[in-house]
Symmetry: D3
Subunit: 278 residues, 6 copies
Amino acid sequence: MPSTMRTRHREFLREDIGSGDITSELVVPADAMAKGTIAAKEDCVLAGVSDAAAVFEELGAEAVVLVEDGSHVKAGQKVLAVSGTARSLLAGERLALNLVMRMSGIATLTDELVTKARKSNPNVRVAATRKTTPGFREFEKRAVVLGGGDPHRFGLDDAILIKDNHIRIAGGVEEALRRAKRSSFTKKVEIEVENERDALLAVEGGADIVMLDNFSPEEAKRLHDKVKALRPGVLVEVSGRVRPENIEAYAPAADIVSVGYITHSARSVDFSMTIEGA
Amino acid sequence: MPSTMRTRHREFLREDIGSGDITSELVVPADAMAKGTIAAKEDCVLAGVSDAAAVFEELGAEAVVLVEDGSHVKAGQKVLAVSGTARSLLAGERLALNLVMRMSGIATLTDELVTKARKSNPNVRVAATRKTTPGFREFEKRAVVLGGGDPHRFGLDDAILIKDNHIRIAGGVEEALRRAKRSSFTKKVEIEVENERDALLAVEGGADIVMLDNFSPEEAKRLHDKVKALRPGVLVEVSGRVRPENIEAYAPAADIVSVGYITHSARSVDFSMTIEGA
Amino acid sequence: MPSTMRTRHREFLREDIGSGDITSELVVPADAMAKGTIAAKEDCVLAGVSDAAAVFEELGAEAVVLVEDGSHVKAGQKVLAVSGTARSLLAGERLALNLVMRMSGIATLTDELVTKARKSNPNVRVAATRKTTPGFREFEKRAVVLGGGDPHRFGLDDAILIKDNHIRIAGGVEEALRRAKRSSFTKKVEIEVENERDALLAVEGGADIVMLDNFSPEEAKRLHDKVKALRPGVLVEVSGRVRPENIEAYAPAADIVSVGYITHSARSVDFSMTIEGA
Amino acid sequence: MPSTMRTRHREFLREDIGSGDITSELVVPADAMAKGTIAAKEDCVLAGVSDAAAVFEELGAEAVVLVEDGSHVKAGQKVLAVSGTARSLLAGERLALNLVMRMSGIATLTDELVTKARKSNPNVRVAATRKTTPGFREFEKRAVVLGGGDPHRFGLDDAILIKDNHIRIAGGVEEALRRAKRSSFTKKVEIEVENERDALLAVEGGADIVMLDNFSPEEAKRLHDKVKALRPGVLVEVSGRVRPENIEAYAPAADIVSVGYITHSARSVDFSMTIEGA
Amino acid sequence: MPSTMRTRHREFLREDIGSGDITSELVVPADAMAKGTIAAKEDCVLAGVSDAAAVFEELGAEAVVLVEDGSHVKAGQKVLAVSGTARSLLAGERLALNLVMRMSGIATLTDELVTKARKSNPNVRVAATRKTTPGFREFEKRAVVLGGGDPHRFGLDDAILIKDNHIRIAGGVEEALRRAKRSSFTKKVEIEVENERDALLAVEGGADIVMLDNFSPEEAKRLHDKVKALRPGVLVEVSGRVRPENIEAYAPAADIVSVGYITHSARSVDFSMTIEGA
Amino acid sequence: MPSTMRTRHREFLREDIGSGDITSELVVPADAMAKGTIAAKEDCVLAGVSDAAAVFEELGAEAVVLVEDGSHVKAGQKVLAVSGTARSLLAGERLALNLVMRMSGIATLTDELVTKARKSNPNVRVAATRKTTPGFREFEKRAVVLGGGDPHRFGLDDAILIKDNHIRIAGGVEEALRRAKRSSFTKKVEIEVENERDALLAVEGGADIVMLDNFSPEEAKRLHDKVKALRPGVLVEVSGRVRPENIEAYAPAADIVSVGYITHSARSVDFSMTIEGA
């Protein structure tokens, strides 16, 4: 665990524990020892178990990861074993579960979308967006990767992504791209386009990635083929109207399909923790 | 906005912007001015618009809240107007939307559950749990309140809540309650029970709130009535198997129904932002 | 020690050490080892020794707590033994003593007040207030608990406490209570009253705790009895003119007597640290 | 107010307010305006009123300092006037009072000691020590200065102060001083001595300040005169057994008298705040 | 100024001011007003003047930028005018100068190298490395950009750069590249090579950028041409033995020349600040 | 390593690593172990090796310091050996080298200046100034000390230093000194003078240190002798036009020669790190 991650875990613990776990301090003797396990209650792709382990270690308990992040897990399967003072297990329980439940929810949904998309395009990538929970992005992006997805940009400092508003203010695709190409040579330049003309201008203007926004699967596919004919190395990203039910239709039109609700609308996967005296 | 909230907004901006919005810095002139509005794309209960306003103000733009948090909003309705440099609007857009979309998602789901539950028990409260996104709890709890729900405990330092593991370690309901009553007189003592015997011991032991965990609606109702007969002032919370489809059945058995997925599985409500030159 | 506490200890060390202990760096060889003990110079109730131990551990030394926090200690009694580099012991000495001296001062004063108050009412609690040193509240509240007192609210987010100004702005006790009862069901509602009429309205309005502010012991007792007759479960807190010399007189009128100067005017208990070569 | 101070005020507010002032949020309308004044309830030397003003400004209220820090104030005198939302005044009230009450307590005690000490030595300084409340030192040192005292070292990085343990580890006064003189030329070197021999060695060794620890007033005076005869420029600090009742006796033996309980055992001065609708 | 930058400025002020500017607090009346200007003492490319302005604004003074960052400035030219309390100007003076002097030093050196390199290759970019002062990277990278250079990667999370150690551990260029291509599609993949064979493998393996490390100008040029013949779109970066005296020789072999000492060995440009009574 | 230093190291790692070392995460197996050594590529005075060790330890690797900070090191000499996961070594490499290269650059330059200055005045001290890299001062001051120099003031809260602007605002040397002498007795008072009259007033006014600013070596020497004749205990600091080529000429005129470019214009010393499989 890098130290930045530990800092975040500590912040999360502080959020939950505040000035102290007053119930355990009153009810549980300081020296009572306990063991616990976290198990999945649904089939899923596991994510966050390494974070859960780190949470318990931060509290002074020992944790053994039984199944690695990224694995397919069956309902009932145990994924983490912990031991330490009963107080430390009780103090970490909720945060550990919150991490595993949310991250596994995202990883599992990602895996489902990847599976669907690859039926029609075995090389396609399914990417997340910046539609993440404020303050929790690094965990959600990691869950996407564990589910087989692509994290896309982490933030605004990460890659150039020219959107409709940028194009309008710059006065067109060509001028926007011209300005963007002044960026560091280490950055890719992506541009979002809404019609064929702009897509072709984008390729000519040297974009590394062209994002087709809000096209039908057929229009997207047609444009994808035109763009690739013009410059085979350009990447095509499709975005905007993609849903689980149509991702298979969109996939042939894209190198990458990006989907906001992988992060903004994934439901949690259920996990439970059992604790018993050591 | 209290200063602690502003601190969180700044952290969220740092997460998204990092060392700088490199696209806008290249493509958008520093002195280009713009106006923008955020509008709902679905009917919902609005939450997070005051946070969205604060985000733009933090970036030096002006923001006018058009609809107050907690209001019922129709698809298409504008909720926030902002003006300032185009760069500030572009830098705040994603975070502002992320806040409004997630918080409105939670507020809207809460409102739905409250409406359903009150059909069968007009006085019942629908409460959240601690199953929140790590680091984002204060926003999610606030969204619950804006949707008409009860935030429940904020964290482990907030109220005494004796759970099954505490009872087991203490050696029973009576002993656990006896220890818990040593807490500050300012704290309520709640205890989770799984059978009738423990429920009755809890009331006798002086619990302020008895949580009935994982009962059927009928069992819960029967126990609720017994408990209330024993001590009318005790509050009964029902938890554990509640779903939108059965909350109406559970409500008569409870003063409070608590539901984890209000926070852990709410989907986002869709909002969009339009930006145009000033 | 929870990690939030360690964070505070680190902040305190930074306050005292700043960019370095320049005297020890010049005068004491880096590899000189030493042992030390902290001993009380007065009879007292010990508080802060676990913090003192943590301070030395934070600096890389080993610490053995000889007497647990909350114990009655005699003048001359050793409470902590430490060993490590001489530099670490010298760097932690002042902070460790400051913690033990102040916290034991508060714990000892609390214990004295509890003893006095219980002469006339064996069930009474002696509670602190929010009149604490800014930034040091969690330590002072903990010292109160170690001295046998009740910490009362930790802060404004902790419990509802309706004061005179709230009542005035709301337009009376009834309306203030009505509004306050909209709070989460997990919170108790306390209200401060200055006359009999308001006290009775408070009980009728459903207050969990009624605080009698600035009454004489006799008036307080009379009102206490009226209030309890109306609703036996209501708690009565007496506050405002309580001093060590009259707390015995006030105690029969109260479930809780709260006293600001437990925290705002306790004098330190004297402790000293001896260090010798290992 | 320097920004570091504002940071501390914000931390103090966070400590008191936490996730929100739940009473005012329920009972006081968001748009209710109010005015308030803080007044002394005892004669004192005022300290902390500028901090109190800054606290209310941090909360969005306006504050007018009526009496400057460091002034002698009479019981009943108003020292600060504030206006703003009722919520902001209620949220800042306790912290503002805690700051003024504690800091004025220290300033007033300092002023008393200075007055006593200067009866017998009009040029003497009364200095604080590092026996301060952890985390609150800068405020306590400032209060000492406002009361006419000398703050002494702020922390271990501030000046060289060789204590008994340093001397022992170094193997004597001469060697300890020799090592200490390697410090930056910008630092003064002070040394604590417990007998005449060491005091004279200290002067010969080039100490800027000699601290006489735990001497009687007569012994201290005799040694003071010897030391000054040896090198008139050396400063003599007396420490260790000084109390209000003997500070007048010690003062002639010293350039500086340092007293730990100025900070560790000062009682608070009483202030109150009145709030009324605007 | 984005808020993250302001946070850094505040940290820098805290470093310099600590608990207070004790000289000014003693010597300069709180209400003394002053004006000041910062002027260059050498010809240079200006960088950091916007930071200097922000520093004074943070201290409550007003600042007017007279020459924009990135401009060529002559010795004697005034670049910033400030006005406010004398204390605020004195408190900000050193930090403001330190920022301008260091950042202008880097911008000026970058400009010199760019000018030299473009004599032989008008399209070449001169890039910085990660050899920056710990904690000050964002300022140094910005200075490089202001001097006409390319910032290169900000950090390890920014772009894929496969170095010799990575290649060795992976077991060769092909395997290292194969693994690296699993990265997000938004990231470019750069690889450092030390011989022709690896360079050609790198191009075939799909690297976006090939870094030629420690070649002579002639070898680099020869390899550059081979690599470009193989795939014209690949970028060639030359690194490792580049000095001001040979950058003109290296430039024809590269799209980008990267030079560590732009940041690690630039000397400061001299600036001075004059302050006078307002 | 004090904990404040570890906090800085962590901040530096976060600057470089951000959300993760994406290259190593892709290319280097998590369980690959490695060993590494850092070696000097030039003769130098070593500084920062203890920091480099702490950086690797922070990342979970083991580090053995082979040569202590402050030692004279030959080109090729190994100074640090590390072992751990290959990822931890790769993640720490750049920061460790940046620390050692910059700090050794400063220490080596300081050592050169001290050697030159002491040819003509064996007792002279060479001091740094506050012309340091923002945010990195404690490391640069430490490097100065390791090179045999004097760190001078750490910041504005550290010692009284009355500069020309202070004198002007106060209305002359005498009044400025009179005000400054109200400072804590623990602080030295230094004053910067630009002519003989002020220098003599400074000595008479009781300054501990007189700084001769911008004098020629001859004028400085003449004034130094006058000042010392007046009061032998006063320290004389020479500043302002000192360069490596004239420091030997200035040294006889001073107790201390202070030189800004020790910190603001030192070039880095070259070090390299080799890593190989364990």
